[in-house]
């Protein structure tokens, strides 16, 4: 459990004042107390005060630290839990979310086998085709919020399910945060790539955006996926973000959809 003696000497929070009498016409910038608490907890998460998988302080502890009621802390944590930044477990505590847990593995992978669920296939076989350091072209630099020419890591790999190559993907990572990542490191790691990012580089992927298209397989892709050239493939371009909407990964995948499909739930 977190150090009980290292309580932050938080200033006495006052509910965001409506700014009445200042700069009429601008938004009042009113922020409820629980949002401020949420922001403070978020800061601690970003700063790594509590690591993925570890418990954060109990609601009562946080209430004391921030000098608010338990209910207010609760509402702040509720939102963090809704955003999958944190996981509540009754009777145990609240834990920093991680990609390393079994039941949330491949959290961002929406490809499903046509019959049966994700567990009926067993783990994917991963084959790393290439891993190199290079200078980002504009089309890679821009989504990663880098300047063209900055160092990036490029990784190419194939995922196979039950012996059938199904996913071919190129991954680009900013060179700075991922300094020291090698093909060997990736190949020897058991578990999802995002879990390795957490433990080895302190980078936690929080959310992602995907753009999906249908494309025809070019010669190189067709060979790696063992399909005819021109075969329709699902093109999935993903940008994954850490805290604060900072992009940390660009991924361009080609999915075979003859035995699998991309599943999406609309609410």
């Amino acid at each position: 459990m977190a150090t009980p003696s290292s309580l932050l000497n938080a200033p006495p929070l006052t509910p965001g004042e409506p700014d009445s009498g200042a700069l009429p016409g601008l938004t009042p910038a009113f922020s409820p107390l629980y949002q401020q608490i949420k922001a403070l907890i978020l800061q601690s998460l970003q700063a790594g005060e509590w690591k993925p998988g570890e418990p954060i302080p109990s609601e009562m502890e946080l209430a004391v630290r921030f000098r608010v009621s338990q209910g207010t802390v609760r509402k702040a944590i509720d939102e963090l839990a809704a955003e999958n930044l944190v996981i509540r477990r009754q009777g145990k505590g609240t834990f920093v979310a991680t990609h390393a847990e079994h039941h949330v593995q491949y959290r961002f992978l929406r490809l499903m086998p046509d019959n049966g669920d994700i567990n009926s296939e067993g783990p994917a076989e991963r084959q790393i085709i290439d891993c190199k350091r290079l200078r980002a072209q504009a089309d890679v630099a821009h989504p990663l919020a880098l300047r063209p020419g900055e160092a990036v890591l490029q990784l190419r790999r194939v995922l196979s399910f039950q012996g059938m190559p199904t996913i071919l993907e190129d991954v680009w990572l900013p060179g700075g945060p991922f300094k020291g990542l090698t093909a060997d490191r990736l190949a020897s790691y058991r578990g999802p790539m995002y879990a390795l990012f957490e433990t080895e580089f302190g980078v936690r992927m929080v959310r992602a955006e995907e753009k999906i298209r249908a494309v025809a397989a070019d010669a190189a892709s067709a060979k790696l996926l063992e399909v005819p050239t021109g075969e329709p493939l699902l093109s999935v371009e993903r940008i994954a973000y850490t805290y604060n909407d900072i992009p940390m990964e660009l991924r361009r995948g080609l999915y075979r959809t003859d035995t699998h499909h991309y599943k999406n739930d609309l609410n």
Copy 2:
């Protein structure tokens, strides 16, 4: 506002008892009070006690009706709002969600133009190709939870953006609930199809599942979408559900993704 004199004479709710001492080994089937309240509100929504777009009774009214505190009603409504069944508006009330509002129009359509947002295109032009009543084949009956041979409505249409045909879709609807739906009715209706379903047939789509694949355009589809035969297209199969997870629509769409893409946010 809803009739204040027609308060349901709800039985005095007691928090779901842990069932202690009965059938050991089975789940206690404990249900918190706010979940029971949520279920009751859901029943009223299904029964059409409040129509889409209309306000539901205030939190205080519901608290009195159900003999619980306002906070408990609030938590029930919070969940309904999170599921997009209901919309809260501070100072005004809580309203039954609808597909007819401008800012939630095309709520289930994830296709976006590659540059610019959904509003930069203006409304889609809709062209109805075909609309007929027929008996469901197994591949249509099964997703709709019908028996093969039951009556269904089949609709085929093309959506165009800025003059370019972009979406070709076939829609199947169960014949019972949608009795009386005709091509004319559809063609003359301004606004989203799901809004028409609400106002004309009392069917409100609440959520949907989509399965996405890449396919090659066949001759007929290619002609309608004005692309070469064999062109890769996004195949989007949607099952849309009303309350209680009852499937009410099967939709098979082919999307051109040369100028648009399917956008998905992962959390």
